[in-house]
């Protein structure tokens, strides 16, 4: 079953962004736009974790947190605007589990959600992000690329792209899919960007093995192709 996250946030844009992003990451989410609805939804939705804004209509975040803590110890991450940071200590004292300062990046939110879930025991350790093929090791834990056992210096975006392609061998990804999935759905950029990264990867991987290759599927996109070359 997916992990359930309740988002209590009155700013529609932020709420929507969190909603979309977390759904994409495999969470089940619900949004409440004020503190009162937040408490209601908490009771009915029974989330595994709560993202809670401090400044809210009807009932502020502190009060919501207090209500939640009367009955549950569900992890809560507070969202706060810059400058309210002095509230941090009191927030943690009142039972919040972590704190994120706006504006935040989605990656950051995700990392903290995982950190809190791990800390509170709601999540099992993820397995290592490592892929091996003939003469090739792609390791996203150490961010290194090994070709014939030799480290090859590779920038993060390139490595993430390669990892993404290689984690579904033979599957074709369109440029826009890759942009969405590697760069993030909120990235707006030319799809030629992908081509350039593919090129730089090909330079590093040229002639290493005939058991796999980065193949262009004309008119569609790219794939990491496995098997002996034709």
């Amino acid at each position: 079953m997916p992990t359930k996250v309740l988002i209590v946030e009155d700013d529609g844009n932020i709420a929507e962004l969190l909603h979309l992003y977390l759904e994409k990451e495999g969470f089940e989410t619900q949004v409440a736009k004020d503190g009162g609805k937040g408490v209601e939804l908490f009771r009915s939705f029974q989330p595994d974790l709560v993202l809670l804004d401090i400044m809210l209509p009807v009932m502020d975040g502190w009060t919501v947190l207090k209500k939640i803590r009367e009955t549950d110890k569900t992890p809560v991450i507070m969202l706060t605007a810059k400058g309210e940071t002095e509230d941090k200590v009191s927030g943690l004292e009142q039972g919040a589990d972590d704190y994120i300062v706006k504006p935040f990046e989605m990656k950051e939110v995700l990392a903290r959600i995982h950190a809190v879930l791990r800390r509170t025991g709601g999540e099992e350790e993820p397995q290592e992000k490592k892929l091996s093929f003939d003469k090739l090791v792609i390791n996203l834990d150490s961010y290194e690329l090994l070709v014939n056992g030799q480290r090859v210096d590779t920038p993060p975006k390139e490595l993430e792209l390669l990892y993404h392609l290689a984690s579904s061998p033979n599957r074709v990804f369109t440029r826009n899919q890759l942009l969405d999935e590697v760069w993030g759905f909120d990235y707006f950029g030319d799809s030629r960007t992908v081509d350039v990264h593919i090129k730089r990867l090909r330079e590093k991987l040229e002639g290493v093995s005939d058991q796999w290759r980065l193949k262009t599927v004309w008119g569609v996109g790219y794939k990491f192709e496995l098997g002996p070359s034709a």
Copy 2:
């Protein structure tokens, strides 16, 4: 989950014997009958320990060991016939963890497996907070840093940071992870702080060994990298 053992051995009788005996003892085992299959199975099965014969068809034990060591530090116990014992030293030098001479008793094998697992941390053991690498000892019990056996005065935060990084060699930590895990999740501070501590550590550790280093992973974070420098 049971401990996984990969058996690479071409003699069917011995392989079968090891297989049966270890399964009975609660291990999960897989058997490869030649070196090539051994390497393949190693990648897919991802064992916790390998029993590796030296004399093998297709690819000999030394080569298999080398391939394994390119990417993993999984413990390996070499199996050798009587008379090949002069290989022992070179075997251990090449990264084998132990050595068993045929013919052997099953009890002997079991004892050595447990010993190696204990030694390499694959099995529970009360552990002191001490890490050693080439020319470097990090001791969090005494809060001491030893470089070439010499004590180097190091403030607590720096030492904790180094210890944390070095306790998961090669794994990349983001600045926020480090702030969470070393400074505490309730610490609120700039992530430049991490940079400064890294710098101070680097000053202390500069040029000590080429077997490890504090490496920046651009766009991601830092890691304690093991292995000869590229």
